[in-house]
Symmetry: D2
Subunit: 342 residues, 4 copies
Amino acid sequence: MGYTAAVAGASGYAGGELLRLLLDHPEMEVGALTAGGSAGSRLGEHQPHLMPLADRVLAETTVDTLAGHDAVFLALPHGQSAAIAEQLGRDVLVVDCGADFRLTDARAWERYYGTPHAGTWPYGLPEMPGARAALAGTRRIAVPGCHVATATLALMPALARALVEPDAVVVSVTGTSGAGKAPKPHLMGSETMGAVSPYGVGGTHRHTPEIVQNLSEAAGTPVTLSFTPVLAPMPRGILATCTAPLRDGATAERITAAYRERYADEPFVHLLPEGTWPSTAMTLAANSALVQVTVDPDAGRLVAVAALDNLTKGTAGGALQSANIALGLPEDSGLPVTGVAP
Amino acid sequence: MGYTAAVAGASGYAGGELLRLLLDHPEMEVGALTAGGSAGSRLGEHQPHLMPLADRVLAETTVDTLAGHDAVFLALPHGQSAAIAEQLGRDVLVVDCGADFRLTDARAWERYYGTPHAGTWPYGLPEMPGARAALAGTRRIAVPGCHVATATLALMPALARALVEPDAVVVSVTGTSGAGKAPKPHLMGSETMGAVSPYGVGGTHRHTPEIVQNLSEAAGTPVTLSFTPVLAPMPRGILATCTAPLRDGATAERITAAYRERYADEPFVHLLPEGTWPSTAMTLAANSALVQVTVDPDAGRLVAVAALDNLTKGTAGGALQSANIALGLPEDSGLPVTGVAP
Amino acid sequence: MGYTAAVAGASGYAGGELLRLLLDHPEMEVGALTAGGSAGSRLGEHQPHLMPLADRVLAETTVDTLAGHDAVFLALPHGQSAAIAEQLGRDVLVVDCGADFRLTDARAWERYYGTPHAGTWPYGLPEMPGARAALAGTRRIAVPGCHVATATLALMPALARALVEPDAVVVSVTGTSGAGKAPKPHLMGSETMGAVSPYGVGGTHRHTPEIVQNLSEAAGTPVTLSFTPVLAPMPRGILATCTAPLRDGATAERITAAYRERYADEPFVHLLPEGTWPSTAMTLAANSALVQVTVDPDAGRLVAVAALDNLTKGTAGGALQSANIALGLPEDSGLPVTGVAP
Amino acid sequence: MGYTAAVAGASGYAGGELLRLLLDHPEMEVGALTAGGSAGSRLGEHQPHLMPLADRVLAETTVDTLAGHDAVFLALPHGQSAAIAEQLGRDVLVVDCGADFRLTDARAWERYYGTPHAGTWPYGLPEMPGARAALAGTRRIAVPGCHVATATLALMPALARALVEPDAVVVSVTGTSGAGKAPKPHLMGSETMGAVSPYGVGGTHRHTPEIVQNLSEAAGTPVTLSFTPVLAPMPRGILATCTAPLRDGATAERITAAYRERYADEPFVHLLPEGTWPSTAMTLAANSALVQVTVDPDAGRLVAVAALDNLTKGTAGGALQSANIALGLPEDSGLPVTGVAP
């Protein structure tokens, strides 16, 4: 156990998933667990599936509690990370699962979040070009949004090779855990079972500028995006159906080759065998993203689909993968590539 | 009870929904019930929720059994309707819930279905321009595919007014009942719960040419379409997220006005109040389609979403609605506008 | 339309189901709709599936609003019905979907509810012996609890004929809507999907004394009861598995005959064909209860299983069935015997 | 990697779960994978979540294929294990996840399975009295049925201390994966979502004699049992609600103490804190069983509830736990105590 890790926001879904993974991590020991309103209660009340930690008591989320760890994972509401990070010292690895430091464009931040921009940290999607170099040795990581990671992995290879026009449509179907644990009427079991419904329609969802940022970086040119997230009746999982117009000469063969090449050495991104399409059920609890692509010649479009578990590869697993890189550990330490099914 | 109605394929999902609605229809009496492999068994074994018909015995699907009714509803596998319809006489109303007579383009039929084109019948989506006139008095009706009805209702008003380019992307999330009742490995409960997955990707799904046909008719010009159906863990419901590039001058106001105007007098299509988005849960067991639209100025796109119950408005309810028109009955006879929730 | 009906608590699940049924009732017109915290808002915000009533505005739940109707249905939290009923006048039919007037034993009430006993009204389970006589012409009805109706229908015939010992074990699995619409952490979609869990274990659930009351009345002797409700991942439905020791001479034949006889003339209780067991999926949105029984010779026990929709036959449908009797209408007016499936 | 393990039946649910666990086992290497009808295909077609094994080809289930491993796990239909085991040699550890060698009473076997009794192997529920001694060093293990493990863990401590009468009622709610992967009409997604239904009612389920065997062994006297399994809409999980009449002097304190003592040193059975009841959602993918008990003084009964994952602790995890003991490995090698939630 070389490192100690604290988790702020341990009573929530992202915090719980971080702890599930940390418990199996060969080099990290679970340190302080903190919470907001749940401070003072046993973790077992909030995360009964984390039996080895059931009797741990949640502390208040303060710098004092979090200080003294090698790594601090923040699973907090937007806007709370900056103040904590500032006081934690530059030698502590701070991994923010929230949005505060994801965007490079301050105006985009202000438009979508309505608060001053806190800054930009190295971006925790190791599969992006240059990301591993930026993550190596860093002490600050901004973990991507879950829809963002999915859509980026689906479209990046085609945009990077200029096989499609920089004009994407993404419909991203997700389970309910992405909306968090705070009780809201429309997220009740009675309301969600049997319900498929869109939200944040028309480019208003906060993951929109972040997807644009990633796709534009991959394409080397500004990308236009129509993004619609859709809620589906399952606790976990995201499936993004993504499409963009084919450029001249972009055949199915060239596209498949580009994806195969791009992801051949990625430990957690799998291009499925031809004819097999991703399903969220293939990724439950794994740090894996599954991708498949095809060409629709009548529509003149690429269709790329990616699936992943929004809490694992989409949040906590991705955070840990990036933290491994930052700390110089094997990138796949403590990260399951195998899912749970059925 | 002015009319008698037979149902061929009474043991399946579409047949069961037809019977559920016919039992409440003030002018139709349930006549012969027929089936394929299930002939000879009690309906109660296959449709235990249809208690008033539990002891009715399923007959073989033959012309003799079906003859002598005022209306015959066919819920059969593709390719079986033509032979039956030919022998039933021109005075019998034949309503085909299958695909055989939906397409006008014989080449499109042959490409997608691989058999000779049987012909084209009046199209059972009364909300399409001219449809009611074509349905009035007809004795042959082709009921639309369920994804088709949903996508058509979502995009038709914008295309009809040339507010968008004829270049649509549709991602249509549906429950499992659309895949029918025959046991298949990937449709088992253990496999579908927790699973969101695409199928028929790349323009290969058979509803593709039918959506193109409808949208092109609405637009008055050929429409290009990228269509991806997605399976979600619920028994019923379709939610189609549809987008197309805005034309110059297509403001949110003009678009909303076009939809409001187009659907103001429709008994079964409801444009929701601003800011409210359709959910499949709002339409369970109702013959209602819910629609909402918005404009994404950054993407330069319309986003239109429609939801309906694939077995009710998407199949059996739509069939009955069209049959009512054909027989000169009130269009809403026996058709619930109210859904079941939660 | 002979009668007007007000619904207090129209924004909740029981209220919504009452309205769904009232909209189809041939003799009742929907009058005032009232709510607590949601007063002033459109019904469509809370019950989007009730499209014909979408623009009705919810009034405050006051006597003034409710007065002047022929029938007032109360779907309110426990303890609020008595005050309203007292002021409504003896000529108004008041149907209480809450618990206030269900129990005859004041001590049982006080023990389980912790407040003074408000009294006892005619009991709205028409299938109980003598219930229809008590309901005819009454202007006060106490609608049974949903678990109570299910367990009572499952065991009553065997106890009434003294075919089993008065010592019952009931495990009653139910969907989430029975817990109401108020957001609570353990009822969120993320928490309920995949979760089967008991609650109110050890005889502490408030439906316990009411089941005891009914079974004891049926048996003509005090019945001992072990009752465990269990939450399952579905919005609607109850399935009660009930067992009691066989008395001497209680053969399978005699038991089946007793159930067949007891329910032969009941419009809404169906003894299934031998070998067919009830499923909640057979009863969705119907006012039907399904029952099956068998004998376990090794255990020396009767096993009786009943299924119904907790919101329909278990609450709103049962309420309307009893109201029909009270008003002298056909008992099945406006009540669907046919369910929705799949 | 000290040991090699073959899995027969690798394309099914139990086989898949065995492989998921074996992939993480520090001392076992995955050897031959065999199947029946799926032989010759890639494992990835059947178990897409087991990515590291996706390209392994399934062999025929023959002795030749299975020979040469240290351990052979059989996840086969009933009746196929004996022939294979006989030919594998006494030095190979054969772990049978099927029923063939579970029962000690040949007449009970013949009555419930209708074939000659193959014999009895050491029983793979380490938590039973004497089980670990019998398992240590054995080369034959009969893994318990999933309902059996659950009910046994719920009731064993009370029966072992004679705190309850030997007369149990068990209602055991389970997900769909227990019914296996072969497509059947009633197990389709459309049929199972929304459906709670009993099966094998009246003591006819094959787990009945096995529960009786375990409970009688625990009690030291024959136990009478009423057992009803119930299917619920989730892929995994079992929750057994169990009750038996209290004996004189069996207070809540004594009962809780008996359970606490009995399970204090068990690595995989957890008595929950007072007032917390087990949920299947707490055990997903873990080898953990959760237990809680209470006393119902009015009914004079103990109520004991246990939850576990039918594929993990209920099948594959239990198999591996027992295999660890047999091979002299740490009992918890490769077995997750932490579940996946939500």
